[in-house]
């Protein structure tokens, strides 16, 4: 053994000189085979069903998995993905999905699939978060925050297999955002076969640690705080799609037959919607280089150690624009940064105190100092990009005198101390929470409140937030789809408290009632009117202070072709090419 090493060492040393001297050859060719993405933090898990943070969904959702449906990144319309087409009944309660054939799961060093994707996988994936009795439900904690916050599990009456490639889902109530929810980053399709294998082997939790999906890349290795390595999925289905359209054609036929039989089916069959060419090109590897510090990410981007980076800091945008070898993609984001009060803790259970605090801060200043004007002032939870946006909504104004008065009336004494929790990571909606916290600290000082800033590492931070240990927190939300319900419900509904997205720990019956009402109709005007009422209600009770809607940025090197910004968050590297 040792002899072997020694022998190899000598041989290696001899070649070392040779190597260094003539190492010009296929450098470019080699570096073209891998994309390195500098991400900002560790994913919590490799199953996006389990976590709403965009770090997790960036790292997994579009790289490892596919969903039944997708959003078109340009138009925001819902397009087919694993479901090649679908039908909805006229009452809006039953959805039928025709599934794509010949979709292969990843073959990895820990799992070799024996069959292609079929209806069982869809049923498994949905039932895992839907049914508490499902054997996999409680694996990895048993919390599915996104679905819980929307109450989706309760709304689904059944998920049924019609045949190997057709699934029907029936709802209790009409939900106009249902399809959109299935297209979000979190509604990924897992492998039922893999789950069964693991279950028999007695290690079900591996399903979320060593993932298997149908996406363009397959999992190779992960080291916390360092990197995630993905390899190209050779048999990715979108590639075969390009070769022959017969799959799609046949599936469309299936639906045609059915709709003739049953007149109840609505006539909105989606056929062959423009499927983006997510073929993996020359890229053999995708690597997430985990780099929490934004300045370091930019530095790596400049030196070419990264090909693309997440969340460039607002201060760095000018630098990126000024460089020829870097591209800055920019889209108005569907997001909201806010300051939420823990409404279950006195004195923050008093709306007057919350209003006083809101009046104590100058939002415009925060915008300038923290976002460097790359964000718009938020009046409500919804950004202007949403169809339910209300331009004339009421907004809090900077008024320290009023603030002092309100505080005095509420019995909050001079020198009262509170905590401001500042999230430790950079997000589009809040690129520097600590800095914002420092600014707010100053404002609060002016109205006689001593604020201390609290921060932990991201995982601990979220855990403690969920336990409600904070007085107030600076955090935000990136929408998963363009539906307004995706803002209002996860952020402030009662159901979102246990799922851990309701940072204000606020539960209000009127609010929940209005939200539910809005989902019962498909009429956009009607819904808009309801959401305006919701805005009014939020302005009065003020569980959180909306601060900003930020633009969403993505910086990448010019060598990368085909990078697409997804307005609903989420990067995707399928179809990206690299030419040095």
């Amino acid at each position: 053994m040792y002899m072997g090493v020694v022998k190899r060492l000598t041989v290696a040393l001899c070649t070392a000189l040779l190597i260094v001297s003539c190492a010009k050859q296929n450098k470019k060719a080699f570096y073209n085979t891998g994309i390195i993405y500098c991400s900002e933090s560790n994913p919590v898990t490799f199953n996006p069903q389990l976590d709403t943070s965009s770090t997790t969904s960036d790292a997994t959702s579009h790289q490892l998995y596919d969903r039944l449906l997708d959003f078109d990144p340009d138009s925001g319309r819902i397009v087919p993905s694993l479901a090649s087409s679908w039908l909805v009944t006229n009452d809006g309660l039953t959805y039928a999905f025709q599934l794509r054939r010949d979709v292969k799961f990843h073959q990895t060093h820990y799992f070799t699939p024996t069959r292609n994707f079929n209806a069982d996988d869809v049923i498994f994936s949905i039932n895992r978060w839907r049914l508490p009795s499902h054997p996999y439900h409680s694996v990895s904690g048993g919390r599915y925050p996104y679905f819980e916050s929307l109450g989706l599990a309760q709304n689904i009456a059944s998920v049924e297999r019609v045949n190997g490639y057709r699934v029907e889902i029936t709802l209790h109530r009409r939900d106009s955002s249902f399809l959109a929810n299935l297209a979000t980053d979190f509604a990924v399709i897992l492998s039922q076969e893999y789950a069964t294998t693991l279950f028999e082997a007695g290690s079900p939790s591996k399903i979320d640690i060593l993932p298997v999906g149908t996406g363009p890349f397959k999992f190779e290795s992960y080291r916390k705080d360092r990197f995630i390595k993905y390899l190209r999925h050779e048999d990715y289905w979108r590639k075969s799609e390009l070769r022959g359209d017969d799959n799609v054609a046949s599936s469309a036929e299936d639906f045609d037959n059915r709709s003739n039989v049953d007149a109840n089916w609505q006539d909105n069959v989606q056929l062959n919607g423009n499927i983006s060419n997510d073929d993996v090109t020359n890229v053999q590897q995708l690597i997430f280089d985990i780099t929490p510090r934004s300045s370091l990410r930019l530095a790596k981007l400049m030196t070419g150690e990264c090909d693309a980076t997440a969340f460039p800091a607002q201060t760095e945008l000018e630098v990126i624009r000024a460089r020829n070898d870097l591209t800055l993609a920019e889209k108005p984001g569907l997001n909201i940064g806010f300051w939420a009060f823990n409404t279950q803790r006195p004195p923050f259970d008093n709306p007057d105190v919350r209003r006083a605090l809101a009046a104590a801060i100058d939002k415009n200043t925060l915008l300038e100092a923290v976002y460097f004007d790359s964000a718009t002032r938020a009046k409500t939870l919804l950004p202007a990009a949403s169809w339910a946006f209300q331009n004339d909504a009421d907004d809090t104004a900077y008024n320290p005198v009023l603030a002092r008065q309100l505080l005095a009336n509420a019995g909050v004494k001079e020198g009262f101390s509170m905590t401001i929790w500042a999230m430790p990571v950079e997000r589009a909606y809040n690129p520097n929470a600590t800095k914002m916290a420092e600014l707010i600290q100053r404002y609060l000082q002016d109205v006689g409140i001593e604020a201390t800033i609290v921060s932990y590492d991201w995982a601990t931070f979220r855990r403690h937030l969920q336990d409600g240990l904070h007085d107030s927190v600076l955090i935000g939300w990136s929408a998963d789809n363009g539906d307004p319900d995706n803002f209002y419900r996860p952020l402030l509904s009662c159901g979102a408290i246990p799922s851990g997205t309701n940072r204000a720990m606020w539960c209000d019956e009127d609010y929940d009632r209005l939200l539910n009402e809005a989902l019962k109709t498909d009429d956009i005007d009607e819904r808009t009117a309801i959401y305006h009422q919701v805005n009014r209600l939020l302005y009065e009770r003020l569980p959180l202070v909306p601060i900003a809607h930020a633009y969403r940025y993505q910086a990448y090197r010019e060598e990368l072709n085909g990078v697409v910004i997804n307005p609903f968050g989420g990067v995707r590297f399928g179809g990206v090419e690299k030419t040095l």
Binding site: S295, T365, A369
Partner: protein, 297 residues
């Protein structure tokens, strides 16, 4: 014995004066001393010198470049940081905090170290041997490690980082004092005082300490430069002083976030730390060579 002094006109400088004369003759050392003097002046009179408050945010003036650049304004000599705080003010206060805490740390470490070292030096036999070896081993543990452990136990903060650095500096004083005391105890003048009936305490105060002070000062300057570097390093790593406290390492770390847009936020605090350490080292070096010159004559 002559009844009159033959050398009335003669001036016999004290050892200190001779050291000072030797020190003064080196121009570099004097430059270092003047620089250090400036830093001490900044540290002592920070509130008088500075035009603004160190934590006062000025939203209208974010990231103003230093005054010597085209876009700079003279009211902010070094420009402002990402929160609109005047960098000049913060640097001056930074000198105060960094140098001040470093100084306190060194004095503390010196007091403890010298007493322990004297004790160990006067000990004999197995006990001294054990103390000796343990100390040597402890001396090897890196400051950063001690700081990390203290932060883990007590939490991050300037005070805790001071404890850590004090702890890390003590062994070297102990070591130094111990070997000095031990060497000195063998000398004849100590034996003479012993024969005069001096007890250990008197021996130390009247005989050993006066001889040790100079080397202690030199050792102190060495420790001071280490302490400055360590305090700012811990601040930089977010293990020591916490933002918004204007500590030089913290200012540097804060500036790093805006490093591309505002490079002066990194350059100025870095230069300040560097110059401070450099001046301390130059003075220390000058003192050492002055002492050596004096002893060798």
């Amino acid at each position: 014995m002559p009844q009159f002094s033959l050398y009335e006109e003669e001036f016999h400088p004290s050892p200190w004066q001779r050291t000072w004369a030797a020190f003064r003759s080196s121009h570099i050392a004097m430059v270092g001393l003047v620089m250090l003097g400036c830093f001490v002046f900044f540290a002592l009179f920070a509130p008088i010198i500075t035009p603004y408050d160190a934590t006062e945010q000025n939203i209208d003036g974010l990231l103003i470049p230093p005054s010597w650049t085209a876009n700079g304004v003279i009211s902010h000599l070094f420009g402002t940081d990402a929160l609109g705080r005047d960098l000049f003010t913060r640097i001056i206060y930074g000198c105060r905090i960094t140098l001040g805490t470093a100084f306190i740390t060194v004095v503390l470490a010196m007091l403890v170290g010298v007493s322990l070292g004297t004790f160990a030096g006067m000990l004999r036999g197995v006990r001294s041997s054990i103390a000796n070896h343990l100390l040597d081993a402890l001396m090897a543990i890196p400051t950063l490690l001690i700081a990390i452990i203290i932060v883990a136990i007590l939490g991050a903060g300037l005070l805790n980082s001071m404890w850590a650095i004090t702890l890390a500096l003590i062994p070297q004083f102990v070591h130094h004092t111990r070997s000095f005391v031990r060497a000195e105890m063998k000398k004849d003048y100590i034996v003479a005082s012993k024969l005069d009936g001096a007890n250990r305490w008197q021996l130390f105060v009247h005989s050993i300490l006066p001889n040790m002070i100079e080397t202690l000062v030199v050792q102190g300057t060495l420790a001071l430069s280490i302490a400055v570097i360590d305090i700012s390093a811990l601040g930089f790593l977010n293990l020591g002083a916490q933002s918004p406290l204007p500590e030089l390492g913290v200012i540097l770390a804060d500036g790093l976030d805006a490093a591309y847009l505002a490079p002066w936020n990194v350059a100025v605090p870095g230069t300040a730390i560097f110059l401070m350490v450099l001046s301390i080292n130059i003075v220390g070096d000058g003192l050492r060579s002055a002492l050596r010159k004096r002893v060798s004559h």
